[in-house]
């Protein structure tokens, strides 16, 4: 197993639910899917509102950005110390 340390930045609803702007999580693997599962396990308050209870994957309406690159590909590889942004996918103003 490859433990990867990731930095997660929260915006909007995820930030309100968790009550923090930044998190550090330990993922059991180097992909976005594994990071999502680790985030969901560490912060169950996000489940059902932001993340899917089963997979930890963002619900429709939310998305990840790796650094500033948006992706909904679970296989996206993550390097250690990558910044992962969890945000609303709706950017209307």
């Amino acid at each position: 197993m490859c433990i990867v340390t990731l930095h997660v930045e929260l915006f909007g609803v995820p930030r309100l639910l968790v009550g923090q702007r930044h998190l550090t999580i330990q993922s059991n693997g180097p992909t976005l899917a594994e990071a999502a599962r680790a985030l969901a396990a560490a912060h169950p308050e996000l489940l059902g509102k932001v993340l899917e209870p089963g997979t930890g994957w963002p619900l429709e309406g939310y998305t990840f950005a790796v650094e500033t690159r948006f992706t909904r590909d679970p296989a996206t590889p993550l390097r250690p110390d990558t910044s992962l942004l969890l945000v609303s996918s709706q950017a209307g103003g």
């Binding site: 609803v13 309406g61 103003g93």
Partner: protein, 580 residues
């Protein structure tokens, strides 16, 4: 045809008379309603070269077939005229009960011509029209005007009004109804030039629906979806949530677009405002989402809470380098009270701030504030609304002000076609950059929404100009369709297939067999008609561009514009050959 009344009221303010006219069914079908219908009526009513502030410029109000049917968010009204800011099409959309009242007069649209010779209140009571003096309303803010009008003519009237900015010809004055603004492109200035202080509307004609039971079920289902995760951001935090996120991405316009990050973003960000000042949440007429967040002022000023949206926050905050929430809240409230568009207000002040920084004298007898000077910002807002001191120049908007002042200040006048830039820095959003450059009404994030493409994984960062052109055109068509069905853009995440699902709703309302392809074609048709209107008013390819500061950092812009014209099937110079 269900859903529509098939009639309009054409009102001549000069002759003080009105005529009830049919709207051909094929027009309603082709242009859908809302912005599309308003564009059609403007195009047939506005002569080329009409002075935007003269009597020949019509002012059109148009509803859609969805208004009054119970479809969530659809109680919207489009306003169109030749814009005093851009000289091109000026269209705005506003959610309010006024839209429902207009529809209940038994008409789909009002078209106002001419100009009154004295301050006037226009009363539309069902099919009857009367003109009343409005001298005692002058100087009142829009909400006070509406209250005074309803006290005079009846509490069951709905009112659209202008504030001092509209009375005094601020080119970006708004039309206010039920506290909501038809904010951009200066409809309030057009109304003021017609000496029309307010319009009161009442009616009792319901909108007929082809399949009421099936529509009610579909509307309930959409309402339920509108409360899901796709709108959670708007409901739980509001559009103000964009501030901190955009800052993180480097797309938060700051100090007149000098940069895309602002050190004060957290202080004025939606999360902070909600935690420290959140007051309550409101919804537009007939809306289940309720995205309008109000925040408490702490300065003891009148009006305990203030409505604040992202665009207002960026324009009066980061764009002017101001990080004091109380200042931003006061400035936002004052823009509403004076009845003027907060984006253009903030952007024009930011232009003046940069003039000061660069030593360019405005010659108006008063030095503009420096970036970050909150008190100066508030003074400038006031001066613009009153058209006094430096406000006389700034009330003209960035393009005209820069032309008047010179000194190279055109280089930092941040507008497209005369309409000031919204709060998305297109240097990092290339599809949006194209969308803003070619948009008929100028720099507007609501008529393109191509930022959605850039803020997703739909296109690679090195996508070709052709790919971006296709995405921008599709985004523009969809926005035109939403504005014509008068469905809120905040609902877009609630649809799996927007065109197919709204075609079904349209069919249930009107009884007309309608496909997704039909609606996509309508969106394209409406975009094209806007461009045709602009062509008749003197548009050239040179108008499809971005401010020099931005253009210099988007090397593909011309190639994207060429590709966009090709995707549209237009001529190489951007003119429309054979309309669809």
């Amino acid at each position: 045809m269900h859903g529509y009344h098939g009639r309009l009221l054409r009102i001549d303010l000069t002759a003080r008379c009105a005529a009830d006219e049919p709207i051909p069914p094929e027009v309603l079908r082709a242009y859908v309603g809302g912005v599309g219908l308003a564009t059609y009526l403007l195009n047939e009513s506005c002569p080329p070269g009409a002075d935007p502030l003269g009597p020949a410029n019509p002012l059109v109000f148009a509803a859609s077939s969805f208004v009054g049917t119970g479809i969530t968010t659809a109680a919207k009204l489009a306003v169109a005229s030749r814009s005093p800011q851009t000289g091109m099409i000026g269209d705005s959309l506003s959610s309010s009960y006024l839209a429902i009242s207009l529809k209940r007069t038994g008409h789909d649209a009002l078209v106002l011509h001419g100009a009154a010779d004295a301050p006037t209140l226009l009363v539309v009571d069902g099919g009857r029209v009367r003109f009343e003096p409005a001298d005692e309303l002058l100087g009142l803010d829009p909400d006070a005007t509406a209250a005074a009008v309803r006290a005079r003519v009846g509490a069951d009237f709905r009112v659209a009004a202008i504030g001092l900015a509209g009375e005094r010809g601020v080119r970006y004055a708004s039309i206010v109804n039920d506290g909501r603004l038809a904010g951009r492109t200066g409809g309030g200035a057009v109304m003021g030039a017609k000496k029309l202080k307010a319009i009161a509307v009442r009616g009792d004609v319901p909108t007929s629906v082809a399949q009421p039971i099936a529509l009610a079920a579909a509307a309930r289902e959409l309402a339920a979806r509108s409360l899901g995760a796709a709108t959670a951001k708007y409901r739980e935090v509001g559009t103000a949530a964009n501030v901190v996120f955009f800052d993180r991405l480097g797309i938060l316009p700051t100090r007149n677009f000098a940069t895309g990050t602002f050190e004060g973003a957290e202080a004025i960000g939606g999360e902070t405002l909600l935690a420290e000042r959140g007051a309550d949440r409101h919804a537009c007429a007939a809306c289940t989402v309720g995205c309008e967040h109000h925040y408490r002022r702490r300065d003891g000023g009148a009006g305990a809470t203030v409505r604040l949206e992202y665009e207002t926050l960026f324009a009066l905050g980061s764009l002017c380098g101001v990080d004091d929430p109380d200042v931003v809240l006061r400035a936002a409230a004052r823009c509403d009270e004076l009845g003027m568009d907060a984006i253009s207000t903030g952007a024009t002040i930011a232009w003046a701030m940069e003039c000061r920084e660069r030593g360019v004298v405005l010659g108006a007898g008063e030095e503009p504030p420096a970036f970050g000077d909150g008190a100066g910002l508030l003074r400038a807002v006031e001066a613009i609304g009153m058209r006094e001191g430096i406000g006389r120049l700034l009330a003209e908007g960035t393009r005209r002000a820069a032309e008047l002042v010179g000194g190279g200040s055109e280089a930092w006048a941040m507008h497209v076609k005369g309409l000031e830039m919204p709060g998305y820095d297109p240097r990092a959003l290339p599809t949006l950059a194209l969308g803003l450059a070619v948009a008929a009404r100028g720099a507007c994030h609501n008529r393109t929404t191509a930022y959605e493409v850039d803020l997703s994984d739909r296109l690679e960062r090195d996508a070709t100009p052709l790919a971006r052109a296709r995405a921008a055109a599709a985004s523009e068509d969809r926005a035109a369709l939403m504005d014509s069905l008068t469905v809120c853009k905040f609902l877009r995440g609630c649809f799996d297939d927007f065109e197919a699902e709204t075609a079904r709703l349209y069919e249930l309302v009107t009884g007309l067999p309608t496909s997704a392809a039909d609606l996509r074609a309508a969106g394209h048709r409406i975009v094209e008609l806007k461009r045709l209107f602009n062509q008749r008013q003197g548009w050239t390819r040179a108008d499809d561009t971005l401010p020099p500061r931005l253009r210099a950092e988007i090397p593909d812009l011309d190639a994207m514009i060429d590709a966009y014209y090709a995707v549209r099937g237009w001529n190489e110079d951007g003119t429309v050959g054979t309309p669809v």
